[in-house]
Amino acid sequence: MSTRQFGARVQRNEDQRLVTGKGRYVDDIPLTGALHGAFVRSSVAHARITGVDVSRALALPGVVKVYTHADLGALDVQMPLLIPHPCITHGRTQYPLARDEVFHVGQAIAFIVAEDRYIAEDAVSLVEVGYEMLPVEVDFEKAAEPGAPLVHHDVPGNIAAHLVQESGDADAAFAAADHITSIKVRVDRSTAAPMECLATAARWDEVTGELTVWDGTQAPIGLRGALASLFELDEHRVRVIAPDVGGGFGPKIHFPYANEVLVPLASMELRRPVKWIEDRSENFVHMTHERGQIHEIELAATSDGTVLGLRNRFLHDTGAFIPYGIAVAQVAACQIAGPYRIPNVRVEFSCVYTPTVPVTPYRGCGRPQANFAIERAMDQLAEELGIDRFELRRRNFIQPEEFPYTRPNLIFADGLAVTHDSGEYEKALTALTDALDLAAFAKEQREAWAQGRYLGLGVSFYVEGTGLGPYEGGHVRIHPITGKIFVNTGLTTQGQGHETVFAQIVADQLGARVEDIIVVEGDTGVYDWGVATFASRAAVVSGSAIHKAAVLARKQVINAAANMLEADPDDIELADGRAFVVGSGTAGVTLAEVATASNPLRYAFNKAAQSATQFAPAARSDGPSLGEGAHPGIEATDYYSPPHATWAYGVHGAIVEVDPATYGIKIHRYVCVHDCGNMINPMIVEGQIAGGVAQGMGGAFYEKLDYDEDGTLRNASFMDFLIPYATEIPHVEMIHQETPSPLNPLGIKGVGEAGTIPVAQVIVSAIEDALKPLDLPPFRMTPLSPSLIHSHIAESGNRG
């Protein structure tokens, strides 16, 4: 019997390719005779365009075409609001190219197509744009105040959307409380900074009338739909391929970006392949941002620390447009109560327009902000009530027997009330406190303080609704010639390891080797039903769909093999790439033989085909060679549609030391306890966690997009916008806890975003704990730079 692959630390199928430089990204697609594009982008935040003079650019040798909005014809339309919601009273989205007004620095105004990128960039500087400046307010808190300059003249108060949700009766809980605490916290604006920036290449095939688009996207099927609609092409004539994609993290799912319209358009009009590869400078002012939120949160508690109610009001900076709807704010709102029972919750948010790059989800998607708010508030409540912060959390956890735990009327992104499916929160916290040895730490901390050293411990508990629907499909087929198994799904990978985990799931059903399973995603020419990669949903939704398809394929294999071996299906076993009769000691038939025999037309191309004929027929049919309802070969498709989100969770803790001379932070230990249900591949889970924690470190220490008051992004390069190097990331100790989800056949929950969510609070609370002897007010912002720590101390009247 083969060992079970689900749960094993299988080496990644994709790594041979990806780590030896053999990955193929959009820029690696060889397109003979390709033209290259470059965008003219707004240099100002908000202005009326008084004129765009492209004549000098057009005159430059090597420039083939310059597009402005006036050249777009039917494409000069507002781009879709992808996820509408009734609370969006003033939805505004971008045009492919700005018309008579620009709304943020970096907005595309013109698209230049030239013989190479050098010439295209030369031409960019020759386009003259006349601006009539309009007033701006970049700070989203001020932008929401009465009288602030408007981003869109017809959107009063800059408010795109406003939503109030209430679960239980918050005011009644506050009236009954012994103690109320409130805190206002801010999470700064950030960018996902994927290694590969955006990229689009397109080829229009004159002969077949087909448009092929290679795009660094997380949503090829969505983009295919958008392009079919914009260009009025039948779906089968638009093929979108996401080849290897160098990191996604959310912002690569915003179809269509200007490039996703202009590059295909140019290739169709100019009858030549066109390529556009975004550079880092553009990426900072073009690819969507996230994180900016300001939360006011209040907790109502009894004197023993039972939290009765929560009220949360927050502002969400949506940038200049709201193409993705309220997703980020809604997700934040739904995780604001964290792992705590808190029966009465009112959460209210406004999405505020600012003249800045639009905001769409970035790994974590509102959860890091919500986690920072609730966990800062819990720390403060513990302090005020004189209850140990771990104990306070314990007293409020949802208990194992309370699952499924629903927060009625708090509606998540899938349109359903928040329902935590399963978990053992207290057990996770205990695992953390055991690992950190609180008693030993307390002693160490006292000694450190006595020596003038600042040692502190931080903690954060997160929950994460993952695996959102509506559905994904799985397709499994055994190649008759090679006997390898070909697996497809509609969402796509950006390096997470789909080619391995999906293969593991199929391997268990078909008794095949993981390396003999080929997973192909991200090509609408191969498989085109499905949604996209986001919300830590690939393993949960596609994994379950692929599992279901593999179960069907397994049945086909067993029936065919039983026929071929003239045995009872119940006696057929699948292992090591073969089907055989249990306990017979005979070799049985290979999967290739089964697949070949299952196809009534077979040429004797190879051994498998020749030997297949030596067995009895795979199908028992007296009539035509394909019986009614039968299909050739071994092939199955199935779908999985989750009843609602699965709720992963975890708790991170760190021991840090603050250097009082520099306020530099040294992380002595970082421990992560997490639960993503059953793990398909613990090694891949650990990779996701480690990467997430690293990205979270960025959020905790560095990631702050720094707009000046005119709306210019001051730190639009990796020299000034810092992301952590490997040298800044501590070793992450991981403790796995597996509570199966009852919602899907494999019992899994998502893990892609988990690592990122709690890190800011872990670090900030650790710093706060370390500096206790200075008796400071709480830290209320992230990221926290050494200079900010210094200012915080100085402002509190302390030394500095």
Partner: protein
């Protein structure tokens, strides 16, 4: 992020390089490219001619003698860092270089490139200034020496004439028993520092400091000499209190104003702490045979 088009020259002699430079209206010299290439890709510099110095073997050397360590302008930073003779003569050079960026960048980055670039946050200009080193320039009218304390004029601005190339940098060897240290604080490993401090300490037979040299990067428009610290230290017996006092004296040397990520008050705080720390480390090396 593509540079505008330029002509490219790779002279094999210094003479030829100087001639090309004199003949071109708008040229830049390319050393390791670690600062120049990004500025060209950002199109902040759009030169007509790029003169690549990589084939000038005559500018690639380390010579120790006559009380000086002399480094040719095209010597890679990493080569100097790993040079045993330079280490024996002046270990502060290596300690300073290990704080410059990352090994990959030091593999290409040159001594001359860093000095000619004259970033006041950079470590090498601070080393040259602190040790009162000497820079040698060469142009059509010949060679001349410029004291480091006069070479750096402003951010990215040096005393080099437009037709001159930097050909050599030299720092004195350390005295036997002289203590030394370089420390800095950067937000990430290898970044330009918030502040950095170079120091040497010589203690006389009477147990008092007979010579203290201190300089700092990241705090002014040029690499800064901390002369008030030097004066405070000289003639006094070394000790933690004296070093702490030197740190406090150093605070006023910070002249850069607040930027969006770092306040002036914070930079002062860091400088004070670093001065104290650097002196303590230097002191542990005083009198230690090398």
């Amino acid at each position: 992020m593509k540079p505008s088009s330029f002509r490219y020259a790779v002279p094999t002699t210094l003479r030829a390089a100087i001639d090309i430079r004199a003949a071109s209206e708008d040229s830049v010299v390319l050393a390791g490219g670690q600062s120049l290439i990004p500025t060209m890709n950002f199109r902040l510099a759009n030169p007509e001619v790029v003169i690549d110095l990589r084939k000038l073997d005559e500018l690639n050397y380390i010579r120790v003698g006559g009380g000086m360590v002399r480094m040719g302008a095209m010597t890679r930073q990493r080569v100097v860092e790993e040079d045993a003779e330079a280490l024996a003569a002046n270990p502060l050079i290596r300690e300073t270089l290990t704080n410059v960026a990352h090994p990959a960048i030091r593999n290409r980055g040159t001594i001359g490139g860093s000095l000619a670039h004259a970033d006041p946050s950079a470590e090498l200009p601070t080393l040259l200034t602190t040790l009162r080193g000497t820079l040698t320039a060469q142009g059509p009218s010949g060679r001349r020496s410029i004291p480091a304390t006069e070479f750096f004029e402003f951010i990215f601005t040096t005393a080099l004439e437009p037709d001159e190339l930097l050909v050599e940098a030299a720092v004195p060897v350390l005295e036997p028993g002289e203590g030394w240290a370089f420390t800095e604080f950067a937000r990430r490993h290898g970044d330009y520092a918030v502040a950095g401090v170079a120091a040497t300490l010589l203690v006389g037979p009477d147990g008092r400091i007979s010579r203290a040299r201190l300089g700092a990067c990241g705090i002014a428009t040029v690499p800064a000499l901390l002369t008030e610290c030097e004066e405070l230290l000289t003639g006094n017996a070394p000790g933690d209190e004296l070093f702490a006092a030197a740190g406090q004296v150093a605070r006023d040397a910070v002249t850069v104003s607040d930027d969006s990520a770092t306040t002036k008050a914070y930079r002062r705080h860091v400088l004070a702490g670093l001065v104290e720390r650097t002196l303590k480390t230097a002191m542990t090396r005083v009198g230690v045979p090398r």
